[in-house]
């Protein structure tokens, strides 16, 4: 476990400098380094062998959590520890804190970033499923000055794959002001406390005046296919009032509709059971937060 030879280390002070640095290299030869809590592992195992590392630690404009009339924008270099400690992330955005507070361990949370996690898009990670389950927008910028905004549904393409081009930088993940009576939650199960998710579930619901669910998003982590929506469960959640039996039916539908795999952490049936168990709890929390409880 040791990185291969790195020829150049750059530490730009701005997004434009960072993009200019990456553009000097051919595709695959240079990489952005955010918090490094996944990328350093990949470099040490030689899965990544960058000639040039562009360290984003000094790009201040990539950091921070900004609320603007209910809208939320989280800079790509915002760390887990900062998200976990941001008490304003409640209600519709509660899932962000649920997840960030339990990524890895204290040391990892002091370095790891939301942007690094979603761009790496590892199957057993929390933030991609949370951003997907919250319906975030990924703001990307390219060296030619172009920018684009992608829905999470269009950003996450599969395990370790995203729609980000190598010459693009992720600026932030953002959300418009959530509808009234919206709530979200996330929970995972791993082999030990705060371990990588064997299964994780993120659920966002919006309730109507009568307390019935009008909008629902469900996203899963820990599956071999990568973070993914669970439309079968979303459909069953909509129209319901969040009673225990209805939530259980929705989670049963998800467990029956997704492809689970067996590995040393859990077999396929146990993963389905985890979806039912965690999912019901997460859904109940999301409903409670939507009600303001």
């Amino acid at each position: 476990m040791y990185p291969s030879v790195i020829e150049e280390y750059l530490r730009p002070g701005s997004v434009s400098e960072a993009l200019a640095a990456i553009a000097r290299y051919d595709e695959g030869e240079a990489m952005f380094l955010a918090g490094g809590q996944s990328a350093m592992q990949a470099m040490k195992s030689r899965m990544l062998r960058p000639q040039c590392v562009v360290d984003l630690q000094d790009v201040a404009e990539l950091r921070g959590i900004v609320h603007d009339n209910g809208a939320l924008r989280i800079g790509a270099m915002t760390r887990y520890v900062d998200i976990a400690g941001e008490t304003t992330l409640d209600g519709a955005f509660g899932a962000l804190r649920d997840a960030a507070a339990h990524v890895g361990d204290r040391q990892v949370r002091n370095r790891g970033t939301i942007g690094g996690s979603v761009c790496w898009n590892y199957v057993a990670s929390c933030m991609p499923a949370v951003v997907l389950g919250l319906g975030g927008t990924l703001e990307l910028a390219a060296a030619d000055g172009g920018t684009r905004r992608l829905d999470a549904d269009d950003f996450f393409l599969g395990p370790l794959e995203t729609a980000r081009r190598e010459d693009e930088i992720l600026l932030a993940v953002s959300w418009p002001a959530p509808a009234a009576r919206s709530g979200s939650a996330y929970k995972k199960w791993g082999l030990v406390r705060d371990a990588l998710p064997v299964v994780g579930v993120c659920i966002t619901v919006t309730l109507g005046d009568d307390g019935h669910c009008t909008q629902a998003r469900v996203a899963l982590s820990g599956l071999a296919g990568g973070c993914q929506r669970a439309p079968a469960g979303e459909e069953l959640l909509r129209g319901g009032n969040g009673d225990t039996a209805a939530l259980a039916r929705a989670m049963d539908a998800i467990a029956d509709s997704v492809e689970t795999h067996s590995d040393m952490s859990a077999d396929a049936d146990y993963r389905r059971q985890l979806i039912r168990s965690i999912g019901s709890e997460v859904a109940a929390t999301a409903f409670a937060r939507a009600r303001g409880g």
């Binding site: 291969s4 790195i6 530490r11 592992q41 890895g104 204290r106 040391q107 990892v108 370095r111 406390r193």
Partner: protein, 163 residues
């Protein structure tokens, strides 16, 4: 090679290092600060290499040395005050918070940062704080006790006492 300037335990060092050198190896091999341990062959799972980067606990095998350029690092060698071991170190000794001691430097560095932010932690909070540090001897019971004792002593002691 890149020349970096890093303040370690209050002393500024200027060194030329290969870009791929890990921070833990810079501390151990260049500065001979071997209190920072490598427990898991740089896999980032054991926490024995935990140091403070600008006052925050991080794993020094999960960073390149060049990333610490311009920053301040504290290792376990920098934990004791001028008058000897601080309350956290004394508590680990008094409460038998170690057996072989290999994991201890990382645990001390993590918990000193933890106690600075959580001066009155519950046992549950201490255990959550310890997730990133593996100890294969103690079963953690004495470690949790030591951290609890240190927290109490630091709260009761004079303000400004170093962890």
């Amino acid at each position: 090679m890149k020349t970096i300037t890093v303040t370690v335990n209050g002393t500024s060092y200027e060194e030329s290092v290969p870009e791929r050198m890990l921070l833990v190896d810079f501390l151990r091999d260049r500065l001979a600060l071997t209190g920072t341990h490598v427990g898991c062959t740089y896999e980032g799972v054991c926490g024995a290499c935990t140091v403070h980067l600008d006052g925050e606990a991080v794993k020094s095998c999960m960073m390149l040395a060049v990333q610490a350029d311009g920053h301040a690092v504290t290792t376990v060698e920098g934990l004791a005050g001028a008058d000897g071991p601080g309350p956290l170190q004394r508590a680990f000794s008094n409460s038998h918070g170690l057996q072989c001691g290999f994991c201890t430097p990382g645990i001390l560095m993590n918990m000193s940062d933890f106690l600075a932010r959580h001066p009155d932690p519950s046992d549950e909070e201490i255990r959550s704080g310890l997730v990133g540090n593996l100890c294969r001897c103690t079963g953690y019971v004495h470690i949790v006790r030591a951290v609890r004792e240190a927290a109490r002593e630091m709260r009761e002691g004079a303000s400004g006492v170093q962890a």
